[in-house]
Subunit: 503 residues, 2 copies
C-alpha cells in the first residue's frame, strides 16, 4: 500500500516536472512561480516534512521554503526578481520530494506591477523597479473573514479609492460590540469547542487569506499582514498559543505568503497588549521571517501604549500608533527609518476615543504626518445598524476623507522623486516638505491665517499654488516668486501652499 502510493507520487511528480519543462513555463517578473507535488499525507506533514527549493539565475541563488497544502499536496512558491532563465532543485527530508529539478523563464512584469516595496532613501519607500511608493493606507482588520459578499464589497470600495496599503489580520478579531462574528473556517484543525490541533494547519483558511492578497495585488494595494493581535478575547486563543506553535505558524505563513510581491509583515497590532509573549518571543519570530523570507519584505510591529525597540535591525520601518505628530522628524533622525503613523484615530462617530474624528481632522492628520516626513493610515468607524464598521469588517466607505486622501496622493506623486525632506528645527511648529531650491510644500492645518509667509531662495523663480486640501482645489498665485514673499490666503482652514521651481 505504502509502496503503491510512493509509485503514484513519483509518477505525478514526473508528469508535472516534464510538463513544466516541455512548455518552458513563463513567469512574469515579481509574479509567482509555483511548484506543486503530490506526496504523502501520512503522519503529520506539517511537522515532519522539510521542503525547500534552490532557485538559480546565473550566480544568484534563492531558497524559499515549501509548505504542505493538505490532501497530499506540497507547494514551493517563488517570486523571481530578475528576468531570464531560472532553474531550481528541491531539497527535502522526504526522498520523493528531494532533488527535483526544473526551470522557467522570468519575463517582463505585468502592467502595473513594480515589485515588492522596500525602504528607499532612508525614510521613504519605493518599489523594486525604482518607482517611489507613497503609502496612503487604510485599516480593515478582519475584512477577509466577513464572507464572500462582504469581501467583494470591500474590494469594490477599495477600487474607488487611492488607498495603496491595507492593514489586515491573519487571525479573526473580536472587539467590543463592533466585531463578534466567526470566520467560516479556522487556521487550525479542531474546533473552538473541542480544542485546536495546533500541530495541523487548515490550508483552506490560509488559501482563502492569500487569495485576498492576490486580489489586493490586482488593485495595486500592499497587504500589511498582521501576524498576531491581542483582540481574541479568549474566544479562539490564537493570541495565546504555545511558543513552538507561534513559530511553526510564522514559518508556515512565510512559506505561503512571501512570494506575493505585495506582502508587508506587521508582526503584531498593539504588540504590548499581547500579554502572552516576551520580547525574546517577538525577537525570535522576527528572526524566523528574516531567515525565511527570501524577498525581505518590509517588517514592523505596531505599538499600543508601549513602543517595541524599533531600532532593532530587523525592523524596517516604524508603524506607530499616536496622535502626537510633533516627533515624526525626530523619529526619522533617531532611527533612520521611514515613519508610518499606522493609527492616529479614525474618521467616525462611535463613542470610543479612537473612533470619532471628523473627516476634516482625518484628512488633516494625513497632511500633517506627510508634511512632517511620515506617512499616514486611515480607518473608518461610523455607527452602523448591523455594526459593519470599515475599520473591522470593510464593506462600504461612508466618510468624506478618502476622496481628500486621494487628492493628497496626487500631490504626493507630483513631488520630486529624490531629495525631499521635512523641515526640522527646534521650534518644530511649521509643517514643510522641502527639496532645496526646487520644491516647497507648506501645510497650515487648522489655522485661519489670512496670508502665508514663504522664505524661498532668492536666486530661483517659483510657481506658487494655494491648495485647499478640503475642497481639493489648486489655485495658482498670479505671479512668479522668489525670496521672502507673502501669499494671500482665504483665511479658511486646511490650506497648503506649494512652490515649485520654474524650469
Amino acid at each position: 500500500m505504502k509502496k503503491k502510493i510512493k509509485a503514484q507520487l513519483l509518477f505525478i511528480i514526473v508528469i508535472i516536472i516534464t510538463l513544466n519543462n516541455l512548455y518552458g513555463k513563463e513567469v512574469p517578473q515579481w509574479g509567482i512561480f509555483e511548484i506543486s507535488f503530490k506526496g504523502t499525507s501520512a503522519g503529520n506533514p506539517y511537522t515532519d516534512v522539510k521542503l525547500s527549493a534552490v532557485f538559480q539565475y546565473k550566480d544568484i541563488t534563492i531558497e524559499p521554503q515549501g509548505f504542505y497544502n493538505g490532501n497530499g499536496e506540497y507547494i514551493i512558491r517563488f517570486m523571481p526578481h530578475t528576468q531570464g532563465e531560472w532553474t531550481y532543485i528541491t531539497k527535502s527530508n522526504i526522498k520523493e520530494l528531494n532533488g527535483k529539478t526544473g526551470k522557467f523563464v522570468c519575463v517582463s512584469a505585468q502592467k502595473g506591477i513594480h515589485g515588492p516595496v522596500s525602504v528607499r532613501n532612508t525614510c521613504d519607500f519605493g518599489y523594486a523597479d525604482g518607482t517611489p511608493f507613497y503609502p496612503v493606507g487604510t485599516t480593515c482588520y478582519a475584512w477577509v473573514w466577513q464572507g464572500d459578499d462582504m469581501v467583494n464589497k470591500t474590494l469594490k470600495s477599495l477600487k474607488n479609492t487611492a488607498f495603496n496599503k491595507i492593514r489586515m489580520c491573519v487571525f479573526p478579531k473580536q472587539y467590543d460590540v463592533y466585531i463578534q462574528n466567526e470566520p467560516f473556517c479556522y487556521p487550525f484543525e479542531g474546533s473552538k469547542e473541542k480544542g485546536w490541533d495546533f500541530t495541523r494547519f487548515n490550508p483552506e483558511y490560509f488559501k482563502y487569506f492569500e487569495d485576498k492578497i492576490a486580489s489586493l495585488s490586482g488593485l495595486g494595494i500592499e497587504a500589511d499582514v498582521i501576524v498576531f493581535h491581542p483582540y481574541d478575547g479568549g474566544k479562539w486563543g490564537f493570541d495565546n498559543m504555545p511558543r513552538e506553535v507561534n513559530e511553526r505558524y510564522m514559518h508556515y505563513l512565510v512559506a505561503r505568503l512571501a512570494a506575493y510581491h505585495n506582502v508587508w509583515w506587521s508582526m503584531a497590532n498593539e504588540w504590548d497588549m499581547v500579554r502572552s509573549k516576551t520580547t525574546e518571543d517577538w525577537d525570535r519570530l522576527f528572526r524566523i521571517i528574516e531567515e525565511n523570507d527570501p524577498y525581505h519584505h518590509l517588517r514592523s510591529i505596531h505599538n499600543g501604549m508601549k513602543w517595541y525597540d524599533v531600532s532593532k535591525p530587523y525592523i524596517t520601518h516604524l508603524s506607530v500608533q499616536t496622535t502626537d505628530f510633533f516627533h515624526i522628524q525626530e523619529w526619522r533622525n533617531t532611527f533612520k527609518k521611514p515613519v508610518m503613523i499606522d493609527e492616529c484615530v479614525y474618521e467616525g462617530d462611535i463613542p470610543n476615543d479612537w473612533g470619532n474624528l471628523t473627516p476634516e481632522e482625518m484628512t488633516s492628520r494625513f497632511w500633517q504626518v506627510y508634511c512632517r516626513g511620515g506617512y499616514c493610515t486611515h480607518g473608518e468607524t461610523f455607527m452602523h445598524p448591523q455594526n459593519i464598521l470599515w475599520w473591522a469588517k470593510g464593506g462600504v466607505l461612508y466618510g468624506k476623507s478618502p476622496e481628500r486622501i486621494a487628492f493628497l496622493y496626487k500631490i504626493m506623486k507630483d513631488r520630486p522623486a529624490e531629495g525631499v525632506y521635512p523641515l526640522y528645527n527646534l521650534w518644530n511648529k511649521e509643517m514643510q516638505l522641502i527639496k532645496d531650491k526646487e520644491y516647497y510644500l507648506f501645510y497650515y492645518g487648522n489655522a485661519q491665517q489670512k496670508s502665508a509667509r514663504l522664505r524661498l531662495p532668492k536666486d530661483v523663480n517659483f510657481r506658487v499654488e494655494v491648495i485647499d486640501t478640503w475642497n481639493m482645489t489648486i489655485t495658482p498665485a498670479d505671479s512668479v516668486y522668489s525670496g521672502s514673499v507673502e501669499i494671500k490666503l482665504p483665511g479658511t482652514l486646511w490650506m497648503a501652499v506649494r512652490a515649485t521651481k520654474i524650469k
Copy 2:
C-alpha cells in the same frame, strides 16, 4: 548746607511718623501699608542706600526692602497678611533712615480681595484666604506702554471678560511689524541715543507700571509680571545688561512690586532666547526674589524651545509654551507643581505660526488643558490696520473665544474645591477631571461621536449634563445615572459631559 538738609529731613520724618501714629492708620488685609521718608538725593541713592523695615505682629516678623523713588523720597511697602496691630522699625545704612518706628492696624480685607495666590493642593492654585483660584489667563505683553487711552481701553476690555491673570512685560517690546513703538519713558536714566545710566532707575517708569498692577487688582486680575524677555532687538538693550544691573533691577522690582497682592513673578518669556544670560544668572535672579519677596509670590519661567529645569525648588509652577497637551498629567506627576500652559498659540489670523487659531480651537485648548489637569492662557492676534494686536498692545478684543473661556470659568468654579484630579493612564487619550464618586467632567474635543460612554460608580446616583462648550449650553440628561451608561450626544464638535453626585 548738609547739616540743614539733615535737619529738614529729620523734621519731615518726625512729622510723618507722628501723623501715622496719631491717626492709628488702618490698612486692609493684603492691602499696602507704605512708609515714605524724605531724604537725601545726593550721591546715588539707588546704589548707595540700604533700607528695609522689620514689621512685627505678635511673634511674626517680616522684613521688606525699601527703595528710592527719586526726588529725595524713600519708600518701604508692606502687605500685611494678618489682621491686628503691626509695629515696625526701619533699618538703613543712612542714619536718618534708620531706627524709625511706627505702627498700624490691619483690618479686614476689601471686598473681593482674597490675598495673594499660591500653590494649593500640589497642582492647583488658591488665594491666601483659602478660596480656590482657577486661572484663565490672557496675554498683553506690552499693554502698559501704549499710552493712557489704550491702557484704559485695555482695562475696559478686561473688565468684560473672565480673565483673571495677564502676562505682561516690565520692559518694552519689539516684535516683527506688530510692535515697534516706544514707551513714553524708560526704566533707566539716559536715552537710547546717548546710552543708559544703568546705575539710576527712572521711578516714573516703575510708578506707571505698578499703577497698572493696582488697576488690575481692582478687576480681580493677577499680574504675571515678566521680568526679562528676548524681544528687544537691539533697540534698547534691556535684554543684554550687565549682570550687576540685572540683579539691581531685580532687587528694585521686588522692593517696589512685592507688596501688591496680585503679583506673580515670571522671570522671563522664552528664557532660552535671552542669549546673554547663563543658567547661573537665572538661578541668582531667582534667589534674589526668594530672599527679598517676603510674601513668596508665585515664581516661574517660560520656555521657548528649551525648558528650564523646572524642578528647581524656587520654581513654584510650570509656565509652559507648548501645543502638546498629552504630557500635562505626566508633568504634574513628575514635578508635583501646577501646570500653566502659558502659550499654546493664539486666536487670530496672522501668518506667524503662533497666531492663527480659530476661536473654536483656542476654546478647545482651554478645555483640553483644563481637563488634563492644567490651566491655559489666551492671546489674540487678528490682523489690524494699525497693527493693534491684543497679544502685544491690548486694546479691544475681536475674538470669539473670550466669551467661551468665561463659560468654562463658570464650570471651573462649580467643581468641588478639594480632591479633583485628572485621569491619567498609559493610553492617556481621554480628557477627564475626577473627584472620586462625586464629580466627573469629560471633554471630547474635536470629535463627532454620537454618544459618550461613562463608567460611573455603581453605588452613587448622578445627575448628568451635556455641555456644548462652543454654544455655551448645559443640557441635563433626562434620568438619574450610575454604573456604565451611554449618554446621547448631538454628534457635533466641542462637547463635554458632567456627572455630579446627587446629594
